[in-house]
Symmetry: none
Subunit: 416 residues, 2 copies
Amino acid sequence: MRAELISTGTELLLGQILNTNAQFLGQRLAQLGLDVYFQTTVGDNGARLAEVFNAALKRADLIIVTGGLGPTEDDLTKETIAETLGLEMFLDEESLTHVQEFFKLRGRKMPETNKKQAQFPEGAAIIPNKMGTAPGVIIEAAGRIIIILPGPPVEMQPMFNETVVPFLKKKIGRNNSVIHSKVLKILGMGESTVEERIKDLVDEQTNPTIAFLAPRGEVFVRITAKAKTEAAAGKMINKIEKEIRKRLGDYIYGADDDSLEKVVAGLLKKHDLTISTAESCTGGMIAQRLTNIPGVSDNFMYGVVSYSNEAKTGLLGVPPEIIEKHGAVSEETAIEMVKGVRQACGTDLAVSVTGIAGPSGGTPEKPVGLVYIGFSDRDTTIVQRFLFTGDREVIRWQTANAALNMLRRYLIKYKR
Amino acid sequence: MRAELISTGTELLLGQILNTNAQFLGQRLAQLGLDVYFQTTVGDNGARLAEVFNAALKRADLIIVTGGLGPTEDDLTKETIAETLGLEMFLDEESLTHVQEFFKLRGRKMPETNKKQAQFPEGAAIIPNKMGTAPGVIIEAAGRIIIILPGPPVEMQPMFNETVVPFLKKKIGRNNSVIHSKVLKILGMGESTVEERIKDLVDEQTNPTIAFLAPRGEVFVRITAKAKTEAAAGKMINKIEKEIRKRLGDYIYGADDDSLEKVVAGLLKKHDLTISTAESCTGGMIAQRLTNIPGVSDNFMYGVVSYSNEAKTGLLGVPPEIIEKHGAVSEETAIEMVKGVRQACGTDLAVSVTGIAGPSGGTPEKPVGLVYIGFSDRDTTIVQRFLFTGDREVIRWQTANAALNMLRRYLIKYKR
């Protein structure tokens, strides 16, 4: 079954709100094994909605339209679709009572305009709306299923989950296949290198398929399998995943909902190790990301944001002559910082970061994006040099990623 | 001039990422006074992209396509559009050098697949990409303007701002009317109170219009004016803005691209004051947000993330008996933390935060969301109690907002 999404609302085209409905519905339909080939956004305009709806009628079996169910004049989704399909509108008394009750409960009189929210195309099944006054609609006509839902996510989402999902599951029956996907997350290896290593797998495969995403300096590999059951799809994914893991090794830091900080926090807990951080250019981002994981307080002891040279020499005990001779952004300073914070905090491990996030402060020898990351345990101290590109925020993000990844690579090999 | 947006990427249809590009481009085109009538999302599939592109060619003067400029095989936007328009592809040596340089700088060899990023439809003007390896393209053909940009927002946005906006401004000429809007940002006052205070203005206005947005505990008021020139629209906005500012006072912390941390960093610089932070439940978020502002290093000296009790008693000198008697999350601890960090760092001002971000750790007396924020200058120390709702991330975000806002309200009244 091919599905198509239509989002209505001039506020979407003007960029005044983000289209989270398209994302929500895309995810849910994928879980149901339905392919979405097109998603179109159109303003509050009958003629243009009709144009988009007609295009969808030609190429999709299931059309889900969101928005345009409000009481105002520019809400015309139901009316436009009824006209396109040649259906009359009728007034549903029960829905009218529901709308009236909604206002009564809030001590207000129902405005006359809200009456249109109780009108529906003939033959339509009504989807109740517990969170607002606009019911949704299911129409089966012209060999197609058309579902109309209100625009506000807080109303649309429960209506979809409670009424539309069971309806679609029944329609799909047992003959349909399920789409299941898994995302592997990679850090420290570029997109093209990842592709080179697994290109033959990508080329060989039609089911599961393998695709690449590259958000903010990471690489995601998405495996998508289509099968009769979720278990069968899972099995297909497992097989390819094993092969990919063999080729990419521990560059893969996690899967699906894993974040780098979650993986690191889990490893710290597993090995019962404490850590402290000394951050210059990341300004607390590493600490902030680690402490976003509930329960990390047994392992993350404390962090220092040593933004000024005074903070580096004072609290962390970096010798002023080191900064004078080599600069605040240098291998030597990163080493002294990480030694200093580990000692001051008495932790098992420590990480330090010093770099130039930009936009100013760069020189030909030390350009914007130059970063040194120090790491220290009870026995050794190491430092790594990186050169990142991007704006200030991206450089800081990539720096925090690199530091957390250094930590992760140490922890996966850790033996007491 | 009618504009149309096409977003490509199967990950968008599957709901794996949110389509923020459509929002960004919608906003920017509205500012230029260009009407966007349709926005379509299509997967990484040549035939379907061609179908969508052909529909757009029939109804739009300007078509902006994002995504599908990567080095992998399923990146086929340029190729598909060239084929649809009957254009040959050519290799641009300069772009190839740029891609090669990009890899060289990182000490890596350019994979053969990246070569296709330097290939363009004949007659195309190339949009340079400072943040990545995929240049954009401007094609003028078949009486239409077609602009192709990469999918990652961090690459796409500067390319649009720096190259596409000046290009479009020249094309548009002087006859178009302009839509201009301004967003006022409010903190510390609920959406319904804001609405109550300015409801009569909202009802009276048709141009400019006034709308509300409420992201993550803040309230945004957007004023939108349509006029012949930017200056005329600006004048209309100014008039309403003045009236709104009269009613909401210094609950308005900024406008448009202002962030709370940017405003606070600006005020610190203006008054030449130094600050340090001691964060518990926010785990470094306040420091991280402040240090995201370039040039803040003269004012933000250092920050401490005192996640454990040991960190509070050790580094900050909070008396253990205070924590024992009142708990780590208490008025008394917040006061000792803020005094301790200001003293240790020798700064003019200090902020401390201690609270329960959840999901666990709450009790009936001290529920999840309870936060104490301390503030101290050379003369006085104050503490405020907050009770936030939401998940861990939202509570942490709101806490950082409240702390930065306390600081802002102090600084706007500051007199040496």
